[in-house]
Amino acid sequence: MTEADRSTSLVNLAKVNKHFGALHVLRDIDLDVTRGEVVVVIGPSGGGKSTLCRVINRLETIDSGSITFDGQSLAVEGRALAKLRSEVGMVFQQFNLFAHKTILENVTLGPVKVRKIARDQAERRGMELLERVGIASQAAKYPAQLSGGQQQRVAIARALAMDPKMILFDEPTSALDPEMVQEVLDVMISLARDGMTMLVVTHEMGFARRAANRVVFMSDGQIIEQAAPDEFFTNPGTDRARDFLSKILTH
């Protein structure tokens, strides 16, 4: 990736608003993520972090404002929308691996059905990706036969199989037993090192410090402040962020 690429915006949100009924979940969100950037989103539960992820790949619609991805408006429908979604990977808190498909089938489904890649080629690439996340030996098993940490690594491989321009992570380690958190974070850190553009909702400060370029603090549907990780964690600029940090630190 060249320096010129690095400075260009990949996803841009401008004055984005979203309501669930009377609840104002996203309030005038302005956010820009450049190519190769790793942004960590942190903040109290119910603050709108998941919704932020979900509007970026249009799992939710927005009420006002605009979102552009790679120079294209997200206000598209049908096939164009499906194509756009295929360029933004998503990793969920609950993994959401396809329960009736094997690990390898989970990783090849998108490439074969959406990208129309030949099955044998998709399988070769799928095995490479499973190798990369350390699950290749489990390729023929079903998701329920794997541990949470293994399932989440498969979910990351499934996202990577689409060659996405960006991956969204919504609390990828929150549903894991503590001893499995690091194996997933390690995969994410290596992705960040390789230049993947990532938006990561997480409270893992270790990950934020090691891999993130920027921390965005969200509360009550607003972006309260954003800063480099070290600066944010050692010297938050707002009372609300300081309050929040003191709570998660005493845990």
Partner: protein, 222 residues
Amino acid sequence: MSALIEELPVILGAFWLTVRLTLATAVAALVLGTVLAAMRVSPLGVLRNVAGAYVNALRNTPLTLVIVFCGLGLGLVLDVSFSESLSVNYLWLSIIGLSLYTAAFVCEAIRSGINTVPIGQAEAARALGLTFTQNLRHIVLPQAFRAVIAPLGSVLIALIKNTTIAAAIGVAEASLTMKSLFERHQEAVVPIFLGFALGFLVLTLPVGLLFGWLAKRLAVAR
């Protein structure tokens, strides 16, 4: 007993017709029921409402009415015809009636199966860029079917018994044949009845066992 043995070819022929009625209807109802279930979860309100109205109408109409409508309404009044032979024509009309009726129950079974598929499955598929139909075909319906194999078995058993209603428009399946055998062998009404009842058990019991076994074997582990 001798009457039963004497009429065995007739009885077997009648049950063979019952089996054909059942198989043809099962296939048609499975296809139509699946389409209706897909409509009931579609993002388009019109499709949802049409399918909902269909299911409510057919589930709450007596099957005899549906069959008689197909036989007399479609067959005689509207002159829908599939064959020169009158009996073949009524057979097809009864398959249509049974299928239209059974599809409503198939739809409801599959819909309840769709409700057992966690929302995250469809979301992950959407996030990969699958279209609505791809999502149904590859992710949601395969899991929904596996969850409702046992209920679909019950629908099939009900269908086997419901084929007897085709007698109402003169299709010579098992029950109509039983009636004519009663007239021919008035001394042997009880054995003939028991013979036919046994015939239905031979059809329905294995279906229940098979579907119960399949349900366990194909269950999706979560």
